[in-house]
Amino acid sequence: MYQKTIFVLCLILIYVSTSNAQDTHFSQYTSSGMLGQTGLVLVPTAQLSTDRAIAVGWSYIPLPSTVRDISTNIGEPEFARSARINFLPFVELSIRFTKTKEINELGDRSIFARIQLLRETDKRPAFAIGAHDIVGQVPHYHSFYAVTTKHFDMNNGMIVGGHLGYGLKTRDNARNEQLLGLFGATTLRYRFVEAGLEYDGANTNAALKLFWKNRISVSANLLGLKHIGCSAHAYFVL
């Protein structure tokens, strides 16, 4: 089942990369992380999408990076569906349904909220605060964090991004190790391709993303620099 999923995603990756051969338009949408928020893999960035933007997505997180049960220390690979909206130009809200074998078809619900306090300018980085999974019974990837982002245009079409954040645990029953403490990422974007490396507070992850006409992005991720995960998102504006 997982192999079939990865195979299909590889096909999508191939299709997107070949169909973008003539695409020179830089994606106006910030990319989505595997949790549904704006970010790289698990690390959120301080960027927000354009106002009224909606992103819906699906992700597969392999075993080592999933949340483990506190008592048994056993985790399960996770499939998650997410939906995100820029309710205001500076407010992003997401809902995520995380499914494992032990959770029913709908999945465990998580709510993420982010507020961008400072927009990025030529001289100033963006600054945002966010709360992941702050309500609900079982938190996944819970964190209350602040993050800053700055991009640098290399004048050859490449844009380098740096992202740095710090997360706090405010729920006793939070089971994740990611996004707690210091985390950060660096991204390199060229036209319809983005590559990145991140430290999520527990593991180092890498990502390769492809965008198609500001409507679809697909991402192949290497979690812990060993385990393959993937995600796909679709974007539109209300």
């Binding site: 009224r52 909206i85 309710f87 205001l88 130009p89 809200l93 029913n104 078809e105 709908l106 619900r109 709510i111 309500v135 609900g136 209300l238």
Partner: protein, 413 residues
């Protein structure tokens, strides 16, 4: 001497002739303008608008109408500006429009017709505000065309309820059809008869298997000066209540960006089917005496920049719960998304509400009897199981204004 006299006579005669010709031109202009106004009224009539009246004064064309044709009030005004632009005599005119609902003026404003750099005609809205009833009544003293009173409208609305289920069937649904008969009486008067027809049900509540009434109401809106609106509704409400309710609303501020609202209701229990003291729900009505008084006070602040409404309310809901409720709504064109949070005792609940516009954008031309779908499909999602239930009378100020605040008009036009 006689030459002077003859010259004087000729001057007087010329003056008379000149005056006579001027009067002839004015009468002709007025006739042409009135013919254009009549032509516009006929076009508005053909479009299916109701309560139509139009007058013209210097460079301003005043038009009032009630829209039951277009799903969106802004679309109706856009159509009006198109019809006016198609009239050559009104090309340079400012259009002063006033929308109505239930024969009550709601939103008014002006459409400036300007020529763009490429010669095309642009319609630019300005000075959009809530209508003043007195001014409107004075301006449109004539009998309107195609009156909207004593008309029947059949409306159909889908209802979806979802609940979490067991692992095998994680989402349980209930789909109902809510057919309504709306009878528009006199100015502000309205009768609504709404039922619930079960279509598909996985929730399996026994009382939900019946075709049953949802709302049986008679309501009256009374516009008062200084942007005050009073409404009263009697009848059978949701959540098995019957009785009477009043709502008083007032807008404040230069741009009407503040709203204060107070509601009070005195109700009793009424149910169809019978559910009390029976083993299973049974066809028939059950009533109790009036026994419950509840109320709410709310304040809203409108943020035009983002077509947003923020609301804080304190309310006494059913089961004697004292609730503080906060809401944030944003309009994305016709779609509305809101988030709410409420707290009572030591419990809280939060979630979102979605109003999705329903097909079609334009309804069939209304006749004495009119069929249409409801404007929106509503869905509310609660995150927790802590509910503070309150009944609905089916009437609300924002419904009268079709959720159109004047400050939202510009961005949507």
């Amino acid at each position: 001497m006689h030459y002077t006299f003859i010259t004087f006579l000729l001057m007087v005669l010329s003056l008379q002739i000149a005056t006579g010709q001027t009067e002839f031109r004015t009468r002709s202009d007025e006739a042409v303008l009135q013919a254009s106004v009549d032509s516009l009224e006929r076009k508005l009539l053909a479009e299916g608008f109701q309560n139509i009246a139009a007058t013209v004064n210097t460079d301003v064309l005043y038009v009032t109408f009630e829209n039951r044709r277009y799903r969106d009030e802004v679309a109706a005004v856009r159509r009006l500006s198109e019809l006016v632009a198609a009239q050559p005599n009104f090309r340079a005119y400012t259009v002063d429009f006033t929308l109505q609902n239930r024969s009550i003026p709601t939103v008014t404003g002006q459409i400036q017709q300007e020529y763009s750099s490429d010669g095309g005609l642009l319609s630019v809205p300005s000075d959009i505000r809530f209508a003043d009833y007195k001014t409107w009544k004075k301006r449109f003293a004539q009998e309107p065309q195609n009156k909207g009173n004593w008309r029947i409208e059949f409306e159909f609305e889908p209802q979806l309820l979802l609940a979490l289920g067991a692992a095998r069937d994680p989402i349980l649904h209930q789909i109902n059809l809510l057919p309504s008969t709306n009878l528009y009486l006199w100015r502000g008067g309205h009768v609504r008869i709404q039922g619930i027809i079960p279509i598909s049900d996985e929730l399996k509540n026994p009382e939900d298997q019946f075709w049953r009434p949802r709302l049986l109401t008679l309501s009256q809106y009374i516009p008062l000066p200084r942007q005050i609106m009073l409404s009263a509704t009697v009848g059978y409400f949701t959540e098995r209540r019957y009785g009477g309710a009043v709502q008083l609303s007032k807008f404040f501020g230069k741009k009407s960006q503040f709203l204060l609202q107070a509601n009070a209701a005195y109700t009793g229990f009424a149910s169809f089917p019978q559910v009390i003291d029976v083993d299973t729900p049974t066809r028939g009505w059950q009533f109790s005496a009036f026994n419950y008084f509840n109320y709410s006070i709310a304040a809203e602040y409108i943020i035009p920049k983002w077509n947003m409404r923020t609301r804080l309310a304190y309310q006494k809901t059913l089961l004697n719960k004292q609730v503080i409720r906060a809401e944030v709504w944003r309009q994305f064109d016709e779609l509305q998304l809101g988030f709410f949070l409420y707290r009572f005792d030591d419990e809280e609940n939060y979630g979102f509400q979605l109003n999705v516009p329903l097909f079609p954008k334009r309804y069939p031309k209304p006749k004495r009897i009119h069929f249409k779908t409801s404007r929106f499909f509503n869905y509310t999602y609660h995150t927790t199981q802590s509910y503070a239930t309150n009944f609905s009378t089916g009437e609300d100020l924002w419904q009268l204004y079709e959720t159109l605040h004047p400050s939202f008009f510009h961005s949507r036009f």
